[in-house]
């Protein structure tokens, strides 16, 4: 088991190359990054910028 570091690009015991999408779906920390970064940018940061840009009434 030591010869195949799990999560590596070829991380499969049988030596088959796993497709990139499967590698992504098998990696919870990559998923964690996506699940925090996407809404943080598209929802939170963009949203806060929208509110910050509301002009002051004359």
């Amino acid at each position: 088991m030591a010869e195949t570091p799990s999560g590596g690009p070829a991380g499969d015991p049988q030596g088959e190359r796993l497709p990139p999408m499967q590698l992504l779906l098998d990696n919870p920390f990559l998923l964690l990054f996506i699940g925090v970064a996407v809404p943080a940018v598209l929802y939170t940061i963009w949203g806060v910028m929208e509110v910050a840009q509301i002009p002051v009434a004359q």
Binding site: D12, E16, L18, M21, A57
Partner: protein, 181 residues
Amino acid sequence: MAITPPENRLWWNEPLHRMEIVWITIAFLWGVVMFLTMVYWHIAGQQNLSNEAYRVKPDAFAAKAEAMVARYKVREEGDSKIPVVRPPAGGDAYLIARLWEWWPILELEKGQSYRLHLSSMDWLHGFSLQPTNINIQVHPNYEMVLTVTPTQSGEFAVVCNEFCGIGHHNMLGRIYVVDRK
């Protein structure tokens, strides 16, 4: 099974059921249709909420509303003498939300457009025009400006539909829509 690891190590390469492909395609396209419907309504629809808004101090907003009331007041109503204001068609109509009233009563002409200004003096309130059922959030320190065209005449209620404390359920305002003379 769903509670055991996939038997096939290379599950990503498993063929799809034909029904899955058809359903995913339909569901995706339906999503695109719903997305484009919102965009289309911005171009062709009559009911789009304005995003025009300004930061404003409550006193400054109240001053503008009071100026409108002083100028266009037509009568007073009830024991508490709520002013009824008839702003000129096409002009600015101010509505103050505060604990626990909508002030003043507006009297609008059917078929005319008004620039309606909404803001709160204290907490969040909800502008809920009934029975038409138009619902808009009202914030303190922000003035929202929208153009509204009443299409029915009669007596309309402004219910507060954002919880604003113990008197929330008594916060009821009124808008009259009258036929053109």
